[in-house]
């Protein structure tokens, strides 16, 4: 990869730069004031994303609190990611994608069995990535809550029909998040192959932290 690509506009110097392989989990601590850039390297790759307050991880990202506070289900530039206790955790300071999802949740072996049939139960899924990353950090299943899906498109039709549809992302599009408190970021680079969220072909994403 071109090492200097995707670095434009980042505030400060790069202190961490890592490619998360297709289908893999990722955990990283980001300190207050640092900026995390997520790069959709090859396009149409859902990045399932959870946040925990590093000082007290019973406080975590809350999709519902975030939706209520901004009275909108989509994440755009300026959106503030709130915790379950109403505190700002990160702010989306820039994104080159129209919007990101907060209502579609994470795929799991179990929900795959409902959505596609029991033949998909053995396929890898985001909840297994969330579990693997969290278990190594002292958390478990009850710490998994509704997540963000960066680069994923879940529109709601006027009659309430909702679904994961073709991505609105493209190669090299980014989202920049400024930490408002010390946070632990847990990501699943989504392995789903039964819907259009990854273009039926999971690909790597790049995580860059600047301070």
């Amino acid at each position: 990869m071109e090492q200097t690509a995707h670095l434009d506009g980042l505030p400060g110097r790069v202190i961490h730069d890592e490619v998360v392989p297709a289908r893999a989990p990722w955990l990283h601590r980001v300190k207050a004031g640092e900026t995390l850039r997520v790069v959709d390297l090859e396009g149409n790759q859902a990045v399932d994303f959870l946040l925990y307050a590093t000082a007290d991880d019973a406080e975590r990202f809350s999709a519902q609190d975030t939706i209520a506070a901004q009275a909108n289900i989509f994440l755009r530039t300026g959106s503030v990611l709130l915790s379950n206790e109403g505190r700002p955790m990160m702010t989306i300071v820039a994104t080159s994608v129209d919007y990101h999802d907060m209502i579609g949740g994470a795929c799991s072996c179990e929900s795959n069995s409902l959505r596609y049939g029991h033949h998909t139960k053995s396929q890898h899924a985001c909840v297994d990535n969330f579990l693997e990353a969290n278990l190594r950090d002292g958390r478990g299943k009850r710490d998994i809550v509704s997540n963000i899906n960066f680069f994923m498109n879940v529109p709601v039709e006027p009659d309430g029909t909702l679904g994961i549809v073709d991505g609105i992302s493209a190669p090299g599009l980014t989202v920049d998040l400024r930490a408002e408190m010390d946070v632990t970021v847990v990501v699943s680079n989504c392995p789903q192959i039964n819907n259009p969220c990854n273009g039926f072909n999971p690909t790597p994403v790049r995580m860059i932290v600047a301070a």
Partner: protein, 271 residues
């Protein structure tokens, strides 16, 4: 005060309160004059009116029915559901809307767990204004709106009410998950905007849940987090009774392939 200076007088004073009737209280043993046709008084399990700003938590068994009535049109029932046998399994609101391809739970909808099972079905619903997106108010949001949000103050927030209800079943901060708000609704605009439906509504709207698993149920009855009015919430009535387990040909069970598979997964737990 001096009249109550000895334990005997204090006991007499305390006991004199017995038998007091207020609107928001449980009725023990449960009594109800308005059970649905075919439900016997012997099958009644729970009769309680939950205070405005109050909460309740309760075990319901598989096949029990829970009827909630918005007595005066301004209740907001924020609901958590757990598998009573394994409370790490709980309501997953994202799976609930995603698996059913439907943002607006109503009659016939399932409330799904994170394990691909049905916690409860919405058996009847004459409200149809419910909210899977905005969640519970919290101490910060209530302080911003009412000047206070503490459990000990006049404007308790739904999250802290849910925490107390969950704590009475041994659960804690990590267990209070995204909830569904019943009776207060939202609709989603094309640009993603949340459009609240807050009423006040006609008195007496009701909803019946059918427990498909053994459940810990926690309900908070606080104003919806987006309600712009001065503190507005009215009591919520809960009535539960025994009923039959969902039959193989139940129309809710067989309505869609996703719902049928959710029931197959649930029945697998009780084989």
């Amino acid at each position: 005060m001096s009249a109550l200076a000895d334990p005997g007088a204090a006991r007499a004073h305390a006991r004199a309160m017995g038998g007091t009737i207020v609107e928001a209280m449980p009725i023990l043993p449960p009594r109800a004059e308005d059970l649905p046709v075919g439900v016997k008084l012997d099958d009644l399990l729970w009769e309680e009116t939950i205070a405005a700003g109050g909460y309740a938590s309760r075990i319901l068994r598989r096949s029990n029915r829970l009827r909630l009535i918005d007595l005066r049109g301004d209740a907001c029932a924020s609901l958590l559901l757990f598998n009573a046998a394994m409370p790490t399994e709980r309501l997953n609101i994202a799976d609930t809307v995603k698996v059913q391809w439907d943002a607006y739970p109503a009659a016939g909808s399932l409330l799904l767990s994170d394990m691909g099972r049905v916690l409860a079905s919405i058996e009847q619903d004459d409200a149809a204004t419910h909210d899977a997106f905005c969640g519970a108010s919290n101490e910060v949001s209530n302080r911003a709106r009412y000047g206070d949000g503490s459990n000990s103050g006049a404007y308790p927030n739904a999250r802290d009410r849910l925490l107390l209800g969950a704590a009475k079943h041994g659960l804690g901060r990590r267990d209070v998950h995204p909830c569904i708000n019943l009776f207060k609704g939202v609709r989603i605009g094309a640009d993603g905007a949340v459009v609240p439906q807050l009423g006040p509504f006609a008195p007496g709207r009701s909803l019946v849940l059918r427990a498909e698993m053994d459940l810990i149920l926690v309900i908070a009855n606080c104003p919806h987090v987006l309600d712009p009015r001065p503190w507005s919430v009215t009591p919520l009535r809960a009535t539960a009774w025994r009923g039959p387990v969902t039959a193989e040909d139940d129309p809710v069970r067989t309505a869609t392939p996703e719902r049928l598979r959710a029931f197959l997964n649930t029945e697998d737990l009780y084989r």
